[in-house]
Subunit: 399 residues, 2 copies
DNA sequence: TCAAGGCTTGAATCGGCTC
DNA sequence: GGAGCCGATTCAAGCCTTG
């Protein structure tokens, strides 16, 4: 999320963020409450430290933070401009802070900041790192080599990802977060299992989270209406991270603070934060943003209800679920039209292949057709709408 | 999926799987059709090679396979037995083949088999590897170090994952697959974009797949009713993998064949397979399983024609076919741009002459333009896209 | 004031054949 | 191998304009 990578290792500037009425840090409510709940005096709580991330980490006292959220550069390695089908240019992440000469360089950078972060983590602290396939494998391997203990990998499924414009790959619709404790012996980490379950229709929270990307009013803009930061993360993502793995009053460290999402959500949820950021423009925008946050009541700092929308079911899932078989014949309600199911989830009408909707429309000579309600299969002499199977698949997906 | 790791490097036994009525491998239908569609004589098609995976890989001819699906040991590092809330014992993966002394050992193993696999991949072959957070980060980093080029990471979201019994983590509800080409210059890989889109409600297939785990009749059991293999993958998963990234007649290699899901689905979908497996019990069960598979009709498994491989039609053919007349005016959909048709199949924009694409780009000020979908002619007061005429010309050419 | 439709945009390793 | 050219390619949200 930030750029605190290559700055000078000199003395850090501090940007203090206005306090919020909340006074001293609240005591941790996790089970293994430490003897002293007061943070070390030198801990710069609710401040943004300007300067090199590793140099600043080295100035913090050891074993002093409860949770770390890190959104490091992804090392995207883009080589050419990309245009949408309408010929508009995609605004790529081409900032200097995301450029590395080689994988070896990126690995060295990764191991350096991870080591520095590990030193300031309390024994039962946990670390979150987010990334994409460009960097997450290197980050994960480095974590393991440095004796972090991976607890989960979490998939952030984007509600509205950028499409694959050239049609040469699958839509890159998710990013990956790794959640790790400081070591295999750090068994007392915070995890609000019951709260998450209660907020998730009374079933355990899974490792795949469906959350929209950051847009609209939440997205920080400068005076010219341009986005302040190219990769601002949604607050909903950070909220779930902090609600699941931290307590009110905890210290949350973000070594790549960027636009300050971690700080804004920490303040909202009654956590303390420490932000490290190299770029003064980002830090200034983050401070302004955080100052405007009004913390929630202590009582309401619990898991927010999930919003549910009806999920789109690929017809292919009906084949995969065993409801419909490749090679069998679909018919309409009056058995006037037929089409054959193909293994890839398309239908064949003689030589013509298309979706259940396209073929449904074609066989009737209509411009469009809802294939779900048009097509049926025969089971024990009776016709069953494929829409019934879709309902069942949806139920399975929700379970 | 299998165990072909530590076996002796001696001569491989071959377990031949009965052929299926399907005779010689069908020619690839991808664009870069090789001069010879016959596989090298020494390629052991539709066989399971017993023995050490790397030793067997080294015996295969170079650049001979089209797709690789690999389900290597996960290196789970389980330290104690796990019980459910009702105190029943969870049947964990505790086989010898999943035990490694250290991450360094696992890395060495990973790099060895990946290198051996890369040698037998054709230039435009792609590789799929599946894993969990225990091993996938190491695999991904090794892939990148060996110059594979990652195309996507795919999340297999399990419909029915095992819950987290102790309530100390998120339900581990997914596994990760990495899809990679042999190198950054391997641009001609197979990807059935249109078929996947048509089978997915006419929107692009995303990187997160929702598929049930392997249960019920699909799960191989021995005579005592115990599962044959601890990590048998669902056929639906392999089906989507092969339908998206291979053609009928292709050679699919699985270096950790295990219970033979890759072979069973390859046969079902008219692909050839090569399976490597160290454990004779697994290989025997796989052979029996594959022998029972009845392949689908060719018509159900072939990929529908991709739009980008359709016959190229010169614009001049529209004039020759009488659909468009020399001297008439083409306009865009909103009648903002105009150009005049010349007798040689070019367009004139004032003094400038060029192709339908060039002139379309020029008049809009874009770097490029698809003239077929941009330009229209007026007929009886209505605009008709010249692309409709192209469709008619194509139909005439096919007739 | 509202509804409908247009425009913009998002961490992206994004074409392929012929000459 | 490089240049030139044909022509294929996007989904969901949110904001804004238009009627």
């Amino acid at each position: 999320m930030g750029t605190s990578r290559t700055g000078a290792a000199g003395a850090a500037s501090r940007i203090s963020v206005s306090r919020t009425g909340r006074s001293a840090p609240a005591p941790r409510t996790g089970r293994k409450t430490p003897l002293s709940v007061v943070q070390p005096k030198s801990l710069p709580l609710n401040e943004i430290l300007l300067g090199d991330c590793i140099a600043n980490l080295e100035k913090l006292p050891p074993e002093s933070v409860d949770v770390v959220f890190a959104d490091p550069p992804y090392n995207l390695q883009l080589e050419q401009a990309l245009t949408r089908p309408d010929q508009s240019l995609v605004d790529a992440v081409d900032d200097d802070w995301d450029k590395f000469a080689s994988f070896a360089d990126y690995d060295a950078f990764t191991r350096a900041w991870l080591s520095a972060v590990r030193r300031v983590m309390k024994k039962n602290a946990t670390l979150w790192v987010i990334g994409s396939y460009h960097n997450i494998f290197r980050v994960g391997a480095a974590l393991q080599d440095l004796d972090f203990w991976i607890l989960n990998d979490i998939v952030w499924r984007k509600a509205n990802p950028m499409p694959n414009f050239k049609g040469r790959r699958f839509t890159n619709a998710h990013e990956t977060m790794i959640w790790a404790s400081r070591g295999a012996d750090s068994k007392g980490y915070t995890f609000h299992y019951d709260a998450l379950k209660a907020g998730n229709e009374d079933v355990q929270m899974r490792s795949d989270w469906f959350i929209p990307i950051c847009t609209g009013d939440e997205r920080l803009k400068d005076e010219n209406g341009r986005k302040v930061h190219p990769t601002q993360k949604p607050e909903a993502l950070l909220a779930r991270v902090l609600l699941s793995s931290s307590n009110p009053g905890d210290v949350v460290l973000d070594p790549f603070f960027g636009s300050g999402t971690t700080g804004a959500v920490a303040k909202l949820l009654g956590r303390n934060f420490i932000g490290l950021e190299r770029d003064p423009t980002y830090a200034k925008a983050a401070r302004k943003r955080i100052d405007a946050v009004v913390p929630l009541d202590d009582a309401s700092v619990s898991a927010p209800p999930e919003k549910r929308t009806e999920v789109r079911v690929p017809f292919l899932s009906l084949i995969e679920g065993g409801y419909v078989k490749a090679g069998e014949t679909l018919v309409d309600e009056r058995r006037r039209h037929k089409a054959v199911v193909r293994a890839d989830g398309t239908l064949a009408l003689g030589p013509i292949v298309g979706s259940i909707h396209k073929i449904g429309a074609l066989t009737q000579g209509f411009p469009s057709c809802n294939g779900w309600t048009f097509w049926n299969v025969e089971r024990d002499g009776k016709l069953i709408s494929i829409d019934e199977f879709r309902t069942k698949v949806r139920a399975e997906m929700a379970a």
